[in-house]
Amino acid sequence: MEKFTTHTGRAVPLRRSNVDTDQIIPAHWLKKVTRSGFEDGLFEAWRKDEDFVLNRPERQGASVLVAGPEFGTGSSREHAVWALQNYGFEAVISSRFADIFRGNSLKNGLLTVVLPQETVERLWELVEADPTAEITVDLEAREVRAEGVTASFELDDNVRWRLLNGLDDISITLQNEADIAAFEATRPSYKPRTLPVA
């Protein structure tokens, strides 16, 4: 997992509430056998409309999604997070996320930031008026900054530490590699092994 300290980028204003995971990545994409390549499925239904905000030329290369309330409800598919990341988003801002989606996103290194709805509105106005306006999501300072906006946000200390150090569950376990090796060294010889028997 990549370390997340601070990120600055242009934004996509998504003025919709209750965006569920099926809208983020439709079910037929779940047949894929990889964790990458989901970018074309992101908001697939809406992207058929050329005026949809993600399709606008001025939004190309944007990396911060400013979404409406209740983002990520519905089925628990982790693919929704992968789709946002594959597309190039580093952070999502909303006044409320669905719990499972939020858990999945933070586990995968996609920073989900909760800000009051009025701050979200101000960010919308800002980036709609000026598509080149940048938003900074500073995890070290737990702060979101943009022109005329400085807003602090909360994040669990442990989760923040993991993101700052780029530690996923596996890396955390591997920090105890010596314990695993020590355990393995004491395993009795009668324990089963799958290697083909001669």
Binding site: M1, K31, V33, T34, R35, S36, E78, K107, D168, D169, I170, T173, L174, N176, D179, I180, F183, E184, R187, P188, S189, Y190, K191, P192, R193, T194, L195, P196, V197
Partner: protein, 473 residues
């Protein structure tokens, strides 16, 4: 204070214990199949990681494999991609795999035990909820999600939250014609599909001790349908006899050391369970489900229940919805419910004893007109054994279809599916809406009831056949 079987196995696998953190547990055996492993391997690839212990990992193909024409390319593109991906991943990461056409191929929960890989006192995981099957050997075995699959591949460990223990004590003797499947369906009907939540169940008592290993696997297999984390049975001489001489069972001094260890695993007399349930084996009869979850079952001699008789409003609504989906009228005797299809197979009842039991009833009889019966061995080894005993001939002579090994009609992932509205007596483990095909209706039954049902065309037990003269073959 004494410890339970589950606690002993857990304690023996703790790699790391720290205040306020889940225990990190070592995993002895990691089973893989094509459905839940692709993204886990891809995750490893993206992070540049390897499989830590290929010698504790094994893959088989089962969910998507066809049971006919297995030498032809797989028609369904999604199935084909999943199988090809597993093959590629196994080759790239050096994992042992048993592909379609291989003599060790089969349903992952049939293959592990038959190879002797599932052993007492081990921890076994698989990205599949019916991993609980392996608990029949006194292993702590449970299903995990895809990100946990990746975690085990990379580290051979899992951080796990503690569980509670529940004793399910079954005393007495199962009456003639009553099987392990009837027992577990009765247990689930008693404690409910959420009754085991957060618990590891330990099945104990004289009725459990007298069961064969295959019957014990049937019981532990369905622990998950009671919502449990796992199900276990203390290892005893029945377990050791089953294991002895299997390809991966220990040999010589290792065998003696292993048995000595295995004998220490049974729950201590002064151990305390967090919950206890008692069942009288003598009172049981063949059991079938009438609804759309495994807890909605009743004795075969009963009638389809009336939703109004349920006190709990949620259960009442669930029963109403189930009857609607199942196309059943309250008050109809279950024996009068006629079926279109019969399925014998799955990791619950696709082992050799199950096939023998079904064949025994079909021998010299014909399945009813208009009923389609599929017999699908749980593994290629089971199939070969059945052929050696001539069971395949019994099935085909009776009018049933004898198929290649796999999950088949247990879940509609391969071409073996029910048509909308079709009704099936099935030896599998889940009667959820659409599980065997969109709109399909499933009644969970034992292999014996499945066979008798095929002959009579309606839900029936072998006892119902006794007044019929067997047709001479």
């Amino acid at each position: 204070m004494g410890r339970t079987l589950a606690e002993k196995v857990w304690d023996d696998h703790v790699v790391r214990r720290a205040e306020g953190e889940p225990d990190l547990l070592f995993i002895d055996l990691h089973l893989l199949h094509e459905v839940t492993s692709p993204q886990a391997f891809d995750g490893l690839r993206l992070a540049g990681r390897k499989v830590r212990r290929t010698d504790l990992t094994i893959a088989t193909e089962d969910h998507n494999t066809p049971t006919l024409d297995i030498d032809k390319p797989i028609a369904d593109p999604v199935s084909r991609v999943q199988l090809e991906t597993l093959r590629r991943n196994a080759a790239e990461f050096g994992v042992r795999i048993h592909s379609l056409g291989d003599v060790e191929q089969g349903v992952v929960h049939v293959v592990g035990p038959q190879l002797g890989l599932t052993q007492p006192g081990t921890t076994v995981v698989c990205g599949d909820s019916h991993t609980s099957t392996h608990g029949a050997f006194g292993a702590l075995a449970f299903g995990i999600g895809t990100s946990q699959v990746e975690h085990v591949l990379a580290t051979q460990t899992l951080p796990l939250a503690p569980f509670k223990t529940m004793a399910i004590t079954v005393e007495g003797e199962l009456p003639e014609g009553v099987t392990a499947k009837d027992l577990i369906l009765a247990i689930i009907a008693k404690i409910g599909t959420g009754g085991g939540q957060g618990y590891v169940l330990e099945y104990r008592g004289s009725a459990i001790r007298s069961l064969s290993m295959e019957a014990r696997m049937t019981i532990c297999n369905m622990s998950i349908e009671a919502g449990a984390r796992a199900g276990m049975i203390a290892p005893d001489d029945t377990t050791f006899d089953y294991l002895k001489g299997r390809p991966h069972a220990p040999e010589g001094e290792d065998w003696d050391a292993a048995v000595a260890y295995w004998r220490t695993l049974a729950t201590d007399e002064d151990a305390v369970f967090d919950a206890e349930v008692f069942i009288d084996a003598n009172s049981l009869t063949p059991f079938v489900t009438w609804g759309t979850n495994p807890g909605q079952g009743a004795p075969l001699g009963a009638n389809v229940p009336n939703p109004e008789d349920f006190e709990d409003p949620q259960e009442r609504t669930a029963a109403e919805n189930a009857l609607k989906y199942m196309g059943l009228e309250a008050g109809t005797p279950l024996r009068e419910v006629s079926v279109d299809a019969v399925f014998v197979g799955s990791c619950t009842n696709g082992r050799i004893e199950d096939l023998r039991a079904a064949a025994d009833i079909l021998d010299g009889r014909q399945i009813a007109d208009g009923v389609r019966m599929l017999v699908v061995p749980g593994s290629v080894r089971v199939a070969l054994q059945a052929v050696e005993e001539g069971l395949d001939k019994v099935f085909t002579a009776a009018g049933a279809e004898w198929r290649h090994a796999g999950c088949s009609m247990c879940l509609g992932m391969n071409p073996d599916q029910l048509a909308p509205g079709e009704r099936c007596a099935s030896t599998s483990n889940r009667n959820f809406e659409g599980r065997q095909g969109k709109g399909g209706r499933t009644h969970l039954v034992s292999p014996q009831v499945a066979a008798a049902t095929a002959v009579l065309g309606h839900l029936a037990s072998p006892a119902d056949l006794s007044d019929r003269v067997a047709v001479e073959a």
